[in-house]
């Protein structure tokens, strides 16, 4: 019973801490929708496989929030027709490449300047690699159906046919489509309605993610994860697992890492700081508004593999 009460408290802590950041992300997405409804600039972003994710990652400096807030903004970018690479670059790298996260990393590890360079660099590498990998799957297999429909409405007919837009398929069930960008500005009430629905939709997934993270945290002793701290490979794997389970925001994970920095290898420390902002239990639900389940699985596996390799390489160099 005590454990259940503790899990309930952890759940509340995680949820209430994440909600303002989720709201911030939805608000920025709503403002972007209201102020630049056509978002033509989004579709003019570079499509180069290397340049697109780099530009997306750099957009993170405009949104000083953690990964929860990034999901609605990344969804808005993709729905507005942004190149896939830019959307994914933003989604995966921006939680690290923003002023607050870099400042907190510096504040937590002032005596380890290598971490201040390795963390953003690693985030860039992961974002570029994941964008390239996911790009191979094709939009239809990659994007969540409602997002795909919304995205195709913004693409020129030269690229997407009428049938592919899904707006006139005979015999098919009507597909609920969000208000499309038009030449006229969108009214405030429409923006409010849409962002309110988006917030509640994401909140459902955030609730599920926080419940999962709280349950795993309460019934999986953290000491087990840290018991292998000094073994090069095992420590990287253990800290990756810890990042998945703990699910704290990227804006504070450096301070959490500080707590066990002396007990683990440098590669494991970097692995913790790189993987958490890309994949964790709390994000598992939120990603379903962007990606199909298969794409989420590919993302999680590929990100884990990349982080493991980076962590191993750092251990090899530093040990």
């Amino acid at each position: 019973m005590a454990r259940l009460a503790t899990a309930w408290a952890i759940f509340q802590g995680l949820l209430l801490e994440s909600l303002p950041f989720l709201l911030l992300g939805v608000t920025i997405a709503a403002l972007a929708r209201w102020l630049v409804p056509q978002a033509a600039w989004v579709r003019r972003l570079p499509r180069h496989p290397l340049l697109a994710p780099v530009v997306g990652a750099l957009l993170g400096f405009a949104l000083p929030a953690c990964e929860c807030g990034n999901v609605p903004v990344a969804r808005r970018l993709l729905a507005s027709g942004a190149p896939l690479g830019t959307g994914f670059g933003f989604l995966f790298a921006a939680p690290v490449l923003n002023p607050i996260v870099l400042a907190s990393t510096w504040a937590a590890f002032p005596d380890q300047p290598w971490l201040l360079f390795a963390r953003p660099l690693g985030a860039f590498v992961i974002a570029i690699a994941l964008s390239a990998l996911l790009g191979l799957m094709g939009e239809r297999a990659l994007l969540e159906p409602a997002l795909l429909e919304e995205r195709r409405l913004t693409q020129p007919l030269a690229e997407v046919g009428l049938l592919e837009r899904g707006s006139g398929v005979l015999g098919a069930a009507p597909i609920p489509i969000s208000p499309r960008p038009s030449s006229q500005s969108i009214s405030l009430s429409d923006v409010l309605l849409h962002s309110g629905r988006e917030f509640l939709g994401l909140l459902v997934l955030l609730v599920l993610g926080c419940a999962l993270a709280a349950a795993v945290q309460s019934w999986l002793p953290r000491a087990w994860l840290l018991a292998v701290g000094s073994a090069p490979t095992l420590s990287v794997l253990a800290l990756m697992l810890l990042a998945l389970v703990v699910s704290v925001c990227s804006s504070v994970d450096a301070f959490l890492a500080l707590g066990f920095a002396a007990q683990v290898t440098p590669g494991a420390l970097l692995a913790f700081l790189l993987l958490g902002p890309v994949v964790d239990l709390k994000l598992a639900g939120l990603f379903t508004v962007l990606l199909r389940p298969k794409a989420i699985a590919v993302t999680a596996l590929a990100a884990s593999l990349l982080v493991l390799l980076i962590g191993q390489w750092v251990n090899l160099v530093q040990l």
């Binding site: 005590a2 454990r3 009460a5 503790t6 309930w8 408290a9 952890i10 509340q12 802590g13 995680l14 949820l15 209430l16 801490e17 909600l19 303002p20 709201l23 911030l24 608000t27 609920p176 405030l188 009430s189 409010l192 309605l193 962002s195 309110g196 629905r197 917030f199 509640l200 939709g201 909140l203 459902v204 997934l205 609730v207 993270a213 709280a214 945290q217 309460s218 999986l220 002793p221 953290r222 000491a223 840290l226 703990v246 699910s247 704290v248 925001c249 504070v252 301070f255 959490l256 500080l258 707590g259 066990f260 920095a261 002396a262 007990q263």
Partner: protein, 232 residues
């Protein structure tokens, strides 16, 4: 039918108002003191206020334009889940067992002390003592120093009970314990999760072949859990 449609269209602003209220009320009622580091409290309150504002704005727009009947979309099931969770948060306050939470987590290595060196020993908190003892590992330096601290009883399986505090960087999810070993008086059975105010002095004790500092109490008083039990 009209009533159902009206309710479904009203549900959006009402749910936003409910969640805004949960966030503002959690801050105002002091519940967040048990859940989050204090630096995040205003952020939650401002977020809640913003949600209430958006909810009221939506409600006003809805009523003014009489659009209640237009919203024919059915209410997503997940929204009901969020309503239930919001109500559960209001009805069931967090009652975490700090002992349970700390038992499954290793003690962290806190950063170097700042004020602990200049503070008189009896004014140091438990966390400051732990930081000091870890950065100044010569136990004889602190032998005989007066101690006046409070904390909860942490009883890990197979280990003697300690007096501990939880430190958070963000929220309970990342809480890590810092504990001091205590020479409990004969016949005193420290119950896990009990909060104690302890006065005494620091002494040395041999442990695993090495000297370490241990708190020897001269007085022990059971106290209620402090309003702000988490330490940064």
């Amino acid at each position: 039918m009209t009533l159902r449609l009206r309710w479904s269209s009203l549900s959006l602003p009402l749910l936003l108002l409910l969640w805004g209220w949960v966030m503002v009320w959690s801050t105002a009622s002091g519940r967040l003191d048990l859940l989050l580091r204090s630096v995040y409290h205003p952020i939650v309150a401002v977020g809640g206020g913003l949600l209430i504002l958006i909810g009221l704005l939506q409600l006003r727009l809805l009523l003014r334009r009489k659009r209640a009947g237009q919203a024919s979309q059915t209410l997503p099931r997940g929204w009901w889940l969020t309503a239930l969770v919001a109500l559960a948060i209001i009805v069931f306050p967090p009652q975490p067992s700090f002992n349970d939470l700390a038992s499954s987590r290793p003690s962290s290595l806190p950063e170097a002390p700042r004020l602990a060196f200049v503070l008189p020993p009896e004014q140091r908190t438990l966390t400051e003592w732990v930081r000091l003892l870890r950065t100044q590992p010569d136990p004889s330096l602190h032998a005989g120093a007066p101690v006046s601290i409070s904390g909860f009883v942490l009883k890990r399986p197979g280990e003697p009970a300690q007096l501990a505090r939880l430190m958070v960087r963000c929220c309970l999810a990342d809480a890590t314990p810092s504990g001091l070993p205590v020479l409990w008086p004969e016949g005193f059975d420290p119950k896990p999760d009990t909060w104690l105010d302890v006065k005494g002095k620091m002494v040395t004790q041999e442990h695993d072949g090495a000297l370490r500092n241990v708190l020897e109490p001269s007085s022990l008083k059971v106290i209620p859990r402090p309003e702000r039990p988490l330490e940064p």
